[in-house]
Structures are given as C-alpha cells and as structure tokens.
Amino acid sequence: MPLLSVRDLVVRFRTHDGTVYAVNGVSFDLDEGETLGLVGESGCGKSVTNLAVMRLLPAPAGRIEGGRVYFEDEDLIALDESEMRDLRGKEIAMIFQDPMTSLNPVLTIEEQMVETIKAHKKVTAKEARARAVELLTMVGIAQPEGRLRDFPHQFSGGMRQRVMIAMALALQPKLLIADEPTTALDVTIQAQVLELLSRLAADHGTAVILITHDLGVVAGMTRRINVMYAGFVVESATTPELFAGPSHPYTVGLLHSMPRLDAQPGEPLIPIEGTPPDLRFAPTGCPFAPRCAWRVDRCWTEMPSLDPIGATTEVITTGPEATHRSACWNRPTAAEAAAGRPLREGFVPAAQPVEAAR
C-alpha cells in the first residue's frame, strides 16, 4: 500500500480568459520514505498537482474536477476543511520556492514556529519553544535561542529556507513536498540546503516529492522521477533509468538542450523548438507534438497513455523496481536518445492535419 496515491487527477482553473487545463489526468504513487522528483518547466502542472494534493488550490478559480488522492488509504478530496487542516503540517508538509513570501514578515521566527507546533500538539508554550530551539539547531542555525527572536528579514535567503525546512519537519510529517526549494538560492547555498534536506529526510524516513525544473538537482536527490508536460506525466522511471535511457522526446530534448558542466568543449546544444502550449485550449492529441522531432500522424489527434517500455504487462509504480513508462506513439530509440534527434532514414515529422489546425 503506497503512502500517497494520486489517480487520474484533473485540475482546471476558471479565469476571465477561459478555462485553463492545468492538470489533465495525472496518476502516481509514492511509498513511505521514497524520494520522487517532479520535473518540468513552468506551467507544466507540477506545482498545481501538489497544491491539489494539499487542497490548497486558489479558490474559487482552481477546482479539482476529477480523480482521487489517497493518503494512507484516506481519500483527501472527500475530507472537509477542518480534517484537512489537521493533516497539513502534521502528516504532509510543504516547502515553497520563496522563503521570504512563505514566512510572515511581521512575526518573529519564534511566534511562527511555536504557533505551528501548538496548532497540532498539546504542549505548553515553553515546550514548544524548546522544540523550536532543537529544530533550528538541527538545520544548523547558530545561536538558536537568540535567533528565535529575530524577524524573517534578519535572515539571509539560505537561512530562511533552513527555517522553512525546520518548520516543515517540526511535526515529523510522513510526506514533505518541496516545491522548487532552491530555485531562489545561489548555487553554493543550494548545495547546503539540498544536503540538509536529503540528510534530514533520510534520518526521519520522510517521503519527499521534490518539484524542480532542474534535471541536475533531481539526478542527485531522488530515486524516481516523473517528467511532466502541459499537465500530463509523459515519462516515469527510476532516476538511473531515466538518465540512462530517456524514452520520451521531451525528456530527450531537455537533456540535450541544457549545457552540462561536464560536457565536451564544442558540444552543441540541441534546442527544443517552439514554445510550451497555451493551456487555455483543451488538449487534442499529444501536447508536445508541435515541438516534437519524432511526431507521427497519430500524435496530432490522440494522446498516448503512460505505458511500460518493452514487453512488460505488469506495472510496478513505486520503489527501485518501478516500471519505466512513457507516453509516446513513436519512442526514441536508445541511439536516438543519445544523439538527441531521430536517426531513421528519411524520417520527417508528421505535418499538422488541416482539420486540427486552429
């Protein structure tokens, strides 16, 4: 039984400009203590998926229009707000990208930490404070007693993110969702924070969902990865398998379009042409088709499902044995994935059919 199980999640936003198709049927599982990376660029639905799991979608625009979210067998979508509030922080905690906007600027760190602890545990203020000191020590903040009386603006960006991690782990949640936790930080501070996060998660046996656009970060931090594009999971694999044999054209494109620190000099970048789709249009066919070098006729009209690669019929969704799956009608071969482009003799990407053109 997985710790978290998301099934066919559909999230839409009703805006003045029309409906935004943010998440279009996402399913994934997560075991206790497992680390899962959710990779994709802005607007791919990776953050919205997790806001939906936490039931924190901005109301009234954002709505879960389909699917189920099971956390320890309980359907989170069926819970009422007060039951959900008990769960947040205590069972599932979240760290956001920008620690300045997620900490309250007019309260001291002490007030915020003590409030969090007392909201979920029957402890005295003194006990809560002692726990806060313990937590700040754990995340490596010097002179924790004194620093508790400081306001968020008196901390640097890296330290604020440490405080966020301390608060997120205050109640020893079973699941920690980290949404671009290091994107706002410098690379040396990013290394500090990631090291802290992975050490603490391992010590406490916390399951982690790490949301990021940086394939480098997930390579070192996670065991399993879901690649998302335009509200779909397009590829799912264990971390070693994803990097060794990417099997969706978008994953292949991401790996070839980013310069690598260890690249050979003069290695060219192969950009992904075009731009991500406008999510105000209901998806027809594969959303990546207009940018895809491997597209065939079918891609324009039919979205492929997330199917296992190879002849396997049994699908394992979690753990180190998880089945490598991708949603593609014309998967790149291993040689093509390494080259970053189709190698088949005379292959031309299929033109958009006239009737589907908007």
Binding site: E41, S42, S156, G158, M159, D186, V187, T188, I189, Q190, A191, Q192, E195, S198, H213, D214, L215, G216, V217, A219, G220, R223, T238, T239, P240, F243, A244, G245, P246, G253, L254, L255, H256, S257, M258, P259, R260, L261, D262, A263, Q264, P265, G266, E267, P268, L269, I270, P271, I272, E273, T275, P276, R291, A293, P320, A337, A338, A339, G340, R341
Partner: protein, 419 residues
C-alpha cells in the same frame, strides 16, 4: 593593487591562440572600483560607509572573444557590466574601449561610444516598454542615434527581427503578445540595431524556461559568428558560462579570484572558491553525481560594505581550514598571480589546491585519480562533506553525449563549426 593583466605587456587572448603579437584588446578595465554610498539620517544624510560592489577589478576582452563573468548574487558582476557601459560613473579605475579612456566621457563622446556597446538584460518582461510595439522598441536606438529614416529604417527593423528569428510582420505587436523567449529575441534585436562591437549580456537566459534557454544561447552564438561580436557574458549559471565563453573570470565580493581559459578553469580550478562553486553545480547524471565530491561552503557571502580582512574568502574557505588556518589569509590580501599559462589566481595557497581530490572530482569526469586523493581528503574537517547521494542501484549505464558534435540540419550552427 596589481591588475592581473598588465595591458601593454601581456595582451589577453583565448587560451588556444596565445601569442605575443595580439592586437590591443577591444575593452580594457583597470583597477575598477564602484562604491555605493550608505547614508543615514532623514534631513541631513550623513555618509556612513560604502557598499564596495566592485573593489579593484581588472579585465580585458579581445575582439571577437566571449568572456564569462561568474559569481553569486551580490558579488558585483552586474555592476561591472553597468560600469563598463558607463551606466554608472566608476568611483575609481579606468575603462578603455579601443584605446580610448571612456571613464569620464560625457555628452557626445559618450554617446558615440555607447553606440558601439550595447546591453542585453536579464528580464525580458521588465526591459521592454509595454506601451511600445516590437518595431518601435527595435527602432528606438536608430532614432536616438539618427541612423537612417523612413522606409529605410522600417526595412532595417524588419531585417533585425528576421535576424533574431522573429516574423517581421509581428513588428506591430506589443511585448505582452510575445512569449518570454520571443521577448528576449526582441531585446537581442534592439542590442544589434546599431551594429555594436561589444555586447554586455547580463544574465540573458536566467528568466527563461529551460526548454527555451538553448534557443537563445544558440542565437547568441550564431550572431557572434555572423557579425563578429564580442561578448561579456555575465551569469551565475556555470554550465551556461562554460558553454559559451572562451575565457572566464570568477568573482567573489567585488574582486576577481580566478581567471582562465574556459576549458582550463573546469579541468583545473585553482582557487578554493572556484572549486567549491563548480562542485556545487548539479550535473544531470545520477552516476556522476554519486561519485562527485561536493564541497559545502558554510555560511553566507559576507557583507560587501564590511568585507573580511586579507583574503575575502577566508571566512568560508575549506582549504584554509585544512591548512590549519594560516594567519596569512587574514592579514595579507592575495593578488592575482599567474599560476600557469594565462591562468591567474588570487590565493596564497593555490598550489595546495592543485591535485586535491576536490579539484580532480569537480566535474566527476576524471575518475581514477580520485582514489589517490581520497586519503588526503578524509581529514578535511567539517567544511568538506563528501555527500553520498548515490542511489544504491549504482547506475550502470550512462548516456554519454556524443563526442563528435552531430548537429541537426535545422538550428543555428556552432561558431566553431564554420571556424
């Protein structure tokens, strides 16, 4: 303060083509200082100190070369770019463009020089006037400098838009009608309008989506080849800087700590800060990540209004700790000295960095050598933690990117392909 390149004697060159008969650099910066006053009080503002954003920096750029300037936020790299373009008036030092000292240039002299130096900004949302059309934005430099008019100017604008890969018919659209990548293309077209020699690109891709970044990098490389442009490429992303630059200068707290040819810096970084910075960049390959040695710097970048004495990096230096905290780092400021051919380092103990496991393992490529250095690194103390992030599976297969570049037909060709 000794400039790291005595401009008359050692002309700068890319590492590959070192020669004593190089022409005069296109741009020379000598001992540049840029201080911003800190004032206190409401009515009578007293000068209580300075933020030393740039504190004695020397740099030279040859024509046609790309020099990368890297460092963390607040190290002064953007200030350097702005001071070169004379968007600021430098506190001290000299900026020399094609032999002409422009540090104090004013009025028409300055305008004439600025025509030849342009800038590409980080944020394609903030750097374009939302009330002007794309064509209006691109033609504004032509207007200001009185270049062409009427139909000729309109045609030039259409050509520029086509050059950067935009449909010329989109010229009458407003910035909000374009995507982020397209907006940055407009910014590039504006920078190209006056046929500049030097382009200062300040974090030109960091606001863009990952799948778009490569498009802009390839565009910049293609334009350099076509128009013989010289770039000062300012960025915090070392992978990108390595890809695009011929030479790289690493900054820390307003000073250059290391400068080397791009390849040399990544294969053999010699300043402890450069090693730490490189080791912190994640590489998208779990097998390599597992065997790399990551240096976790403790603490944050110190306040530039009150920088540490001696070597500015001594408060966070992993090497100093290993060497038993020598006093020299606190007392004496290291100058940039040449360690190897055209590889300059500002560290008293740079020799000690050479050959350490930390240096060898920086990009994870040079395996093998790691075993020998392993023992030496064990007693490294708290600053160096060899973070074991290896997934147990051990990741046998690695996608090795092709050694010989096999570019597809479509996108912009690489600079070196045509040579």
């Amino acid at each position: 303060m000794t400039p790291f390149i005595a401009p008359e004697t050692v002309p700068s060159a890319s590492m590959e083509s070192m020669s004593s008969t190089m022409p005069r650099p296109l741009l020379e910066v000598e001992d540049l200082r840029m201080y911003f006053a800190i004032t206190s009080g409401i009515l009578l503002s007293r000068h209580v100190g300075d933020v030393r954003a740039v504190d004695g920096l020397s740099l030279s750029i040859q024509k046609g070369e790309t020099v990368g300037l890297v460092g963390e936020s607040g190290c002064g790299k953007s200030t350097v770019g702005r001071a070169i373009l004379r968007l600021y008036r430098p506190t001290a030092g000299r900026v020399i463009f094609e032999g002409q000292d422009i540090t104090k240039a004013e009025g028409s002299t300055l305008r004439a020089v600025r025509r030849r130096m342009q800038m590409i900004f980080q944020d394609p949302y903030a750097s374009l006037n939302p009330r002007m059309t794309a064509a209006g934005i691109v033609s504004e430099p032509l207007e200001i400098h009185g270049v062409s008019s009427g139909r000729e100017r309109a045609q030039r604008v259409r050509d520029l838009l086509a050059t950067v890969g935009l449909d010329p018919d989109y010229g009458d659209r407003y910035p909000h009608e374009f995507s982020g990548g397209q907006r940055q293309r407009i910014g590039v077209a504006r920078a190209l309008a006056l046929h500049p020699d030097l382009i200062v690109a300040d974090e030109p891709i960091s606001a863009l989506d990952v799948s778009i970044q490569a498009q802009i990098i390839n565009l910049l490389e293609h334009l350099q080849e076509e128009f013989g442009l010289t770039y000062l490429f300012i960025a915090h992303d070392l992978s990108v800087v390595r890809h695009i630059s011929d030479r790289i200068a690493v900054m820390y707290l307003g000073k250059i700590v290391e400068t080397a040819g791009s390849r040399d810096l990544y294969e053999r970084p010699l300043h402890p800060y450069a090693v730490a910075l490189l080791s912190a960049v994640p590489i998208p390959d779990p097998a390599i990540e597992g065997r790399r040695r990551r240096i976790i710097l403790t603490g944050d970048v110190p306040n530039p209004s009150n920088p540490p004495s001696g070597c500015r990096f001594h408060t966070r230096c992993w090497l100093r700790e290993r060497l038993g905290n020598p006093e020299r780092c606190v007392e004496e400021e290291p100058i940039l000295r040449e360690m190897a051919g055209r590889h300059d380092v500002a560290c008293h103990f740079a020799e000690e960095v050479d050959g350490t496991a930390e240096q060898v393992q920086v990009t994870g490529r040079r395996a093998g050598a790691g075993a020998a250095g392993e023992a030496g690194a064990q007693g490294a103390g708290t600053a160096v933690s060899s973070t074991s992030r290896e997934p147990e599976t051990g990741a046998t297969q690695v996608v090795v990117a092709p050694e010989t570049p096999t570019a597809p037909e479509g996108p912009a060709p690489r600079r070196r392909d045509r040579g």
